[in-house]
């Protein structure tokens, strides 16, 4: 049996590397699949036997935006319940609202400070993977 997987949808290679670096620090067994645009993400999702445990979704993506991906995967039975963490640079309130409306489970803003960045990522990943409970106070930060 394959390791459970995490889907990272991220077009920026720097962010991809930094996110993977942070995830490595959590010593997860999951295989991390990286899609560099929305189309690729959906191809992966609908092409694999099992849906990933967690989806980390950037919003600004080439070919197909993150919100479209979110919308598409939420209407498919295989991925309908998969936790999606929108992890993005956008601070637009509309993006936050739309993301939650479309069924995102968390919305986390990517800070410039890498310490904050990795801290926030760790928290949501740990939470949605059920690794430990995040403190409520930290969850407010976005």
């Amino acid at each position: 049996m394959e390791n459970p997987s995490i889907l990272l949808v991220e077009d920026d290679p720097n962010d991809e590397e930094l996110i993977l670096r942070t995830l490595r620090t959590r010593a997860l067994q999951d295989k991390v699949f990286v899609a560099h645009n929305g189309r690729e993400a959906l191809d992966y999702l609908f092409g694999s036997e099992r849906p990933p445990r967690l989806i980390l979704l950037d919003l600004k993506l080439p070919k197909m935006g993150g919100l479209e991906v979110l919308q598409a995967l939420r209407v498919d039975n295989r991925t309908r319940l998969t936790p999606v963490v929108v992890f993005t640079s956008s601070v637009e309130q509309t993006d936050v609202t739309t993301s939650y409306d479309l069924g995102a489970n968390s919305y986390v803003r990517k800070p410039v400070d890498y310490k904050e960045f990795s801290e926030a990522l760790k928290l949501v990943v740990d939470y949605w993977l059920g690794l430990n409970m995040p403190s409520p106070k930290r969850q407010d930060r976005h």
Partner: protein
């Protein structure tokens, strides 16, 4: 009958009395001659009778042009010939010796013929009382009769009246009775015509006829021409002639004079000054009013110009006097002003005609005071002039119509506006000319025409949206009012219409509509552009937040990774450099975040409401204090402050100011931060005051510029966008911001917000 004579005598006692007494004296004289010589008596008495007959003939004849009394002139003509034949009778009398041999017969024949003539004249005369007659013809006719009879007598063809030895013939006696009969018929005739003749004359004539008849009766009795009866009969005859004479004089002379004197009284009763002026301008007669007018008891003999004409006119130039002196043919009237008294006279001069068309004898000059009329005329004239000048000068077109809608007057403004001249328009139907000419642009049915309706019901009507037509057919928009004209009895006599060309107004209205439409489309266009810009801004912000922050994150992240993973291989300086890179990237991230916040502030729609500023400040002060609980701080927040603003932006505004104050009081122990509201030159202003490091007043204005940092970044962290955001928020609320500070002593940041009474956007 006889009772009337004393009355006549009493009323005109002197004249008639003299005649009566003269007659009686003469009768007495004659009687005295009878005893002496009957022939003398007869001759005298007959001569007297002839004289009376001729006299009455002359009087009756001459006064005929004035009396126009046919009855009297016929008597006059008749008695003339009666007198002539009486003369022949006298001259042929027995004993005179002029006519021989049969003097007694001839004389008596003349007597009988004369009596016939007299009786016939008396019988016929009343017929001419009103019918009038040609007096010459009457005179000639009677004369012919007398001449024929006389010729017959002289020729011996006349029946014998007296035969010597036998006395009076049967013819003579019968003739006397026939004559008496004729006289009775004459009396009856006179009586029948009595209504056509003056009553006094009727009575005198009746008396004269009666006396004649009586005399005739006496003459039937005498046997001697020298008998008593003969004597009395002659006296009676004289008396009857006298009575006829009196009747003629009474009618032809006395009555006219009486009328004249009555006229004089009437003349005095006329209230207007009346004078008779001769051709030289001298007053010859005046009535009482004239005497009162000139304050002179006797203006007669003075020049009328001096008394009755304006003093400022010289007599030579006086138009009235020139007419008086000239050959005035017709009545003339002058209206004469007296400048010194302000009185107006109407002077009428009428030429006095001379009978027979002789040269003008003068004029009757009547003055009548017309001052009241003149004043009324003048005031009416002034009023008319006033109305006329209003009509002439008013800028609106005005026209009047009569009851049937025909134009009766127009003013010059109408002529100018419609191109119709007054002469051409007056008399035309206004509706079919101005309102609805054939081929006119718009339908104005008669039933809906405001002017015609006003004529019908008398109501004032206004119309703001109507068309009138010019003479050339062009239509122009008008606003008009039609009002009824009423006569004295309140009936509608017409209507007056005042109109104004509103082309200009319509043009302006249309222009305004076009402009408004343009403006609307411009606004819509701008709004679209603005929305477009907003969308672009959103896209831009999105890009900035995403694309600018991602590389910074990479710089920071990989720098961190380098430090964590390779710290053993890096020298301390290299590590320091890496740390600086990280700090700089964070700093830049914060600046980008600030810019994004500022753009959000600019784009946000404002929804103002009442906000409890004191409560908000208290809540924010807690949050700010919580960020560094170790610091001692004193917050002084004025209670009861309220603002009318967008709550979210106001929160952001206050948060920025409080964080700013908190940041620059970091070295104060305790930090004192005050939030309040005070009156300033520009109205009530909120302020946040601190006891921090302050600033130089010269730089106060530049504080609000983005990224304008007065202090080294290392010392006071911040985005550099806080005060810019504050100013942006205040400006979006149409308020003002300013700052006061002193280095080392603190700073005050002021802002105004509209109170509840002013609305925003």
């Amino acid at each position: 009958m006889e009772s009337r004579i004393p009355q006549v005598k009493m009323r005109y006692g002197l004249d008639l009395g003299f005649g009566v007494w003269g007659l009686l004296l003469m009768a007495g004289l004659l009687i005295s001659t009878v005893s002496y010589n009957y022939l003398l008596f007869h001759t005298l008495v007959e001569l007297f009778a002839v004289i009376v007959a001729i006299l009455l003939a002359v009087v009756g004849w001459q006064t005929y042009p004035f009396s126009r009394n046919g009855f009297l002139v016929f008597l006059a003509a008749g008695y003339f010939w009666v007198g002539v034949m009486d003369l022949l009778h006298t001259l042929s009398y027995q004993g005179i010796g002029i006519i021989e041999p049969d003097a007694a017969n001839t004389s008596t024949q003349f007597w009988v013929a004369t009596r016939y003539l007299e009786a016939l004249v008396l019988l016929v005369a009343p017929a001419f009382a009103v019918n009038g007659l040609h007096r010459g013809l009457a005179f000639a006719g009677i004369g012919t009769f007398a001449a024929v009879v006389s010729v017959l007598i002289f020729a011996g063809a006349f029946p014998d009246a007296f035969v010597a030895g036998q006395g009076l013939t049967r013819f003579k006696v019968v003739s006397e009775y026939v004559i008496i009969g004729l006289l009775i018929v004459a009396l009856w005739h006179l009586w029948m015509r009595g209504g056509e003749i003056d009553q006094r004359v009727v009575k005198l004539m009746a008396l004269a006829i009666s006396v004649t008849a009586l005399s005739e009766f006496l003459f039937t009795l005498y046997e001697s021409v020298y008998g008593l009866e003969n004597f009395v009969g002659h006296v009676g005859k004289l008396l009857s002639y006298w009575l006829v004479f009196v009747a003629i004089v009474e009618t032809s002379l006395n009555e006219p004079f009486r009328l004249l004197s009555r006229g004089a009284t009437t003349y005095d009763a006329v209230p207007d000054p009346v004078v008779v002026v001769d051709q030289n301008g001298v007053i010859r007669q005046s009535n009482r009013a004239a005497r009162v007018q000139v304050r002179d008891t006797q203006p007669v003999g003075r020049f009328c110009h001096q008394l009755l004409h304006p003093r400022e006119w010289s007599e030579e130039d006086c138009p009235i006097c020139r007419c008086i002196r000239g050959d005035l043919k017709e009545l003339m009237t002058f209206e004469v002003p007296f400048k010194d008294t302000g009185i107006w006279h109407s002077v009428t001069i009428t030429p006095i005609e001379q009978p027979g068309g002789a040269a003008q004898a003068g004029v009757v000059h009547v003055s009548h005071d017309i001052t009241v009329r003149k004043q009324a005329e003048e005031s009416l004239h002034n009023k008319n002039v006033e109305l006329h000048s209003i009509l002439q000068s008013v800028g609106d077109g005005i026209f009047g119509v009569d009851r049937r809608g025909r134009t009766v007057f127009v003013n010059p403004a109408l002529e100018r506006l419609t191109g119709w001249s007054a002469e051409a328009l007056i008399g035309r139907n206004a509706h079919t000319t101005l309102h609805q000419p054939p081929g006119g642009l718009e339908e104005h049915p008669r039933e809906a025409c405001a002017v015609l309706l006003t004529l019908k019901d008398g109501k004032v009507r206004h119309s703001d949206d109507d068309l009138f037509h010019r003479r050339d057919g062009a239509a122009f928009p008008v606003a008009f009012t039609s009002a009824p004209l009423r006569g004295d009895d309140g009936d509608i006599t017409g209507a007056v219409v005042v109109f104004r060309d509103i082309s200009e107004r319509k043009r302006i209205e249309q222009g305004r509509e076009r402009y408004e439409q343009q403006l609307e489309s411009m606004v819509a266009e701008r709004t679209r552009e603005l929305q477009e810009v907003n969308r672009e801004m959103e896209t831009f912000s999105y890009s900035v937040s995403h694309d600018l922050r991602a590389p910074l994150r990479a710089v920071n992240g990989f720098g961190q990774a380098l430090l964590e993973d390779y710290s053993g291989q890096l020298e301390e300086t290299a590590q320091d450099y890496l740390g600086r890179m990280r700090a700089a990237s964070i700093r830049m991230g914060q600046m980008i975040d600030g810019l994004l916040g500022l753009s959000r502030v600019s784009r946000r729609e404002i929804h103002p409401e009442a906000v409890d500023v004191s409560a908000l400040a208290a809540e924010l002060s807690d949050l700010v204090t919580a960020s560094d609980p170790g610091r001692r701080a004193e917050w002084r927040i004025q209670p009861g402050m309220v603002a009318h603003a967008d709550p979210i932006l106001l929160r952001l505004l206050l948060q920025n100011l409080l964080e700013n104050a908190w940041k620059f009081t970091a070295e104060r122990d305790p930090a004192v931060i005050e939030v309040g509201c005070m009156d300033t030159e520009v109205g009530a202003a909120f302020f946040v005051r601190d006891n921090g490091i302050g600033f130089e007043q010269e730089v106060a204005n530049s504080l609000y510029q983005p990224f304008q940092r007065l202090h080294r970044g290392e010392q006071y962290e911040g985005s550099g966008i806080g005060l810019a955001t504050v100013q942006r928020i205040v400006h979006r609320h149409f308020g003002r911001t300013w700052a006061e500070g002193q280095p080392g002593k603190g700073a005050s940041f002021f802002f105004t917000l509209p109170d509840g009474s002013e609305s925003i956007e």
